[in-house]
């Protein structure tokens, strides 16, 4: 019953290989959450065991300890070329943003700082369309200005798996190999493949993290799901959105759109 997962996997591998062939100076953004872990796994499949580009973690020093432990273990075991990039402090953020959104914007600025170094032309990010309504509008290859701005009203045509892979000077591209996956797909695939998972996703004392973010702006949700199977069963019936535990999303009607237009993942 996993033919649909084979299709998702194959499509993502196709995208990863297109990116690797067409884009010089590629990096993968690793949040250490369930999605970017699947993404790393798919890279190892696509390139026969190795991840042939740097893996970047944008660090705010605000992740939970389990996340850091997991990062260090996996980076060693999978022989990743891990680059930890420090994000600027919250005081440097756009003060017109609502406070929690401002905290989230630190990662955007960390990413922009990284891009300003000119080290990378393509950044791979494990976002999915079903997470959030503006992400649903994303292209697989999404061109950005150097400052990360997303011109959502004028995105390139993208059809028949032909992606925009040529760019003007001073732009970069976000590549989204998991755009077509759902939260449920991620869990079913993680289970099938035996992909390591940060333990915070599993329920402890009636709570679990459904979406992992920094500890100041992410909260666990009510759940008794202590295994992958239980998580899958929970997701089939739930009507609670995945990012319900992400405080910044619901601060203002357009807070997430504003974050994304200025370069948030």
């Amino acid at each position: 019953m996993t033919a649909d997962l084979d299709y998702l996997e194959s499509q993502s591998i196709y995208i990863l290989r297109e990116a690797y062939n067409r884009i010089d100076k590629l990096a993968l953004l690793w949040s250490i959450g369930k999605d970017s872990n699947v993404l790393l796994w798919l890279c190892r499949k696509a390139f026969f065991g190795r991840v042939p580009f740097p893996v970047v973690q944008l660090d705010t020093a605000m992740e939970l300890q389990e996340v850091y432990d997991f990062r260090d273990r996996i980076a060693g075991e999978w022989d990743l070329d891990l680059r930890v990039e420090q994000c600027p402090p919250e005081a440097d953020m756009d003060q017109t943003l609502p406070p929690l959104t401002r905290a989230a914007a630190r990662k955007t600025e960390g990413l922009k700082n990284l891009l300003r170094t000119g080290k990378y032309q393509g950044i791979m990010v494990g976002i999915r369309r079903d997470e959030q309504a503006t992400r649903a509008k994303e292209r697989v290859f999404s061109p950005r200005s150097l400052e990360g701005d997303w011109d959502v009203k004028d995105q390139p045509a993208e059809f028949w798996d032909h992606y925009k892979t040529r760019f003007d000077e001073g732009t970069h591209v976000r590549i989204h190999p998991l755009l077509h996956w759902t939260e449920l797909d991620i869990w079913r695939y993680s289970k099938r493949e035996g992909i390591p998972i940060v333990p915070l996703y599993f329920a402890k004392d009636g709570k679990r993290y459904r979406s992992l973010g920094e500890k100041n702006i992410t909260f666990p949700v009510d759940s008794t799901a202590g295994t992958i199977d239980e998580i899958i069963a929970e997701l089939v019936v739930t009507r609670i959105p995945e990012r319900a535990g992400r405080a910044m999303d619901n601060e203002a009607e357009d807070s997430f759109e504003r974050l994304r237009s200025s370069g948030y993942m």
């Binding site: 649909d4 290989r17 026969f48 309504a133 503006t134 959502v152 390139p156 028949w160």
Partner: protein, 624 residues
Amino acid sequence: MDIRNELNGQLRIVIVGHVDHGKSTLIGRLLNDTGSLPDGKVEQVHEMSRKRGMPFEWAFVMDALQAERDQGITIDTTQIHFKTEQRPYVIIDAPGHTEFLKNMVTGASQADAALLVIDAAEGALEQSRRHAFLLHLLGVRQVAVAVNKMDRVDFDQYRFEAVSQEIRAYLAELGLHTSTVIPIAARHGDNIVTRSDKAPWYEGPTVVEALDAFRPQQAPTELPLRFPLQDVYKPDDRRILAGRIESGRLRVGDTLRFSPTGATATVVSIEGWNHSQPIVAAQAGQSIGITLDKRIFAERGHIAHHEEGAPHVTHRLGVRAFWLTSEPLAVGKTYTLKITTGEHRVTVESITAVIDIEDLSSTPAKAVHRNEVAEVVLRSRSPIAVDLASALSRTGRGVLIDGHDVVGGCIVVEVDEGPAASANTTEVSHAVTADERNAANGHKGGVLWLTGLSGAGKSTLAMALERALFDRGWQVFVLDGDNVRNGLNAGLGFSAEDRAENIRRVAETAKLFADAGVLVIASLISPLQADRARARAIGGERFHEVYVAADLATCESRDPKGLYRRARAGEIPDFTGISAPYEAPESAELTIDTGAVTPVEALGELLDYVDGVFGRNALKRDRV
């Protein structure tokens, strides 16, 4: 719902139709009535509507962007998941506004089936028809129609029948199969999930029943094998050819032929990672990697297939194209045609017809404008391995790229298997490959085409370059316009036809030299853009145009052969620059202004250029 339904194969549905006919409303209602909206969404939409002083607006469920909600239109395509009792769906909302056609195409191209929404009062308007036509081009074959806003026409059966007849006839003409036309009122939920009591005369399915009746698209495993290469990896001592099988099946032990080169080899293994058992077979839809029994020249863009059922290999194809950008497609223009992973420089040879979306009639035209559909003939510089879209859609369609942007799409409707198409067999029958020749010579063969006015300095520059390259050990030869007229082209005069033929023969000869590994310097006035475009098409990707520019006054003052003086005196008719036009190149690879630089500087510039594109470093780049 239990997990089995969840896994029942997801179906992707695109909702298309004219702007304001209610696509987003239909989707909002569909999500709500199937219980697919997350908690809190309806309240959110209430709040968004209230803030804008509107009644509850279902479209806000889908229109995620601030600008979309403020203007009340969908700008970009979006996707949202929902479930019926039968299976999960991805709903793709495509904007109806003509401004955003590229977004509609982006959305619709990913769909298994489509729901076309038409306003009962307005009927099938321009965008309804355009969308239907594009569905057909994009390869979406299953279409249901929802006639919306039936409440505005009091659920009048006759009005419904009239709209229904009209759209059925149109779709049938496109070859689209319409199973169903449904009367609905999306805003009120009539015939969306539950049957409406306001249209007792209607006995067909509801929208949800119609969606559940669609079939998921199957990967074409039973068609001939097409395995286009994406990349070649060397993770260790293995050389893995990676790509996705677009159609058919492949097994270890199969003999594969690669088009357009014609090389053959046998599959030794299908490589995988984290597989417990060796993989012995793979099929359409799978991204794989294979190793071969011998080391052949194979790279991104080449298509592997079986001996039987090979693709066409051609330099000229007829396509049905749709155009997405404001700069029109025009005869003589050059684009990159990308089919699967293969990229080819193509020139528009002719535009056979532009198709009228309203009545599907055809009119000849010189240009194709934004949002138009047309029949176009393309000529490629390099041989293209391709299929007819009607036979193998995935290798029979492609995108047109101008600069950095995808500007159109096309499906292949005709393949010219003329003499040029035999490049495939020629290459195979040579015992020495182009790579070997290049390696032996230390540079690539190619054609450097010098164009410019008489007296601009073409011949001087050509001869100096020949000397300099020869002294460096290059295989180099000048084909001079005047010289070839004494032999190869002795029978030709100076009529327009003869001049064109003169250029064609020089181009063909230059190509042969280039095939033999020689760098050919062709030095001809070649005043017309069209003739040079043809020379380019013949020469293929190794053709480089150099515009030797000098203004007429400079050329006339030089007048090395005394021709300008005679032309001014009326002794030479149709003299380029005086009494016949010179069309300066618009996209020459290099321009050298001999009026502005010294001959030594001009030669230096040219040498640098030649070294860069044909020299050792160019060879090295090819090998990486």
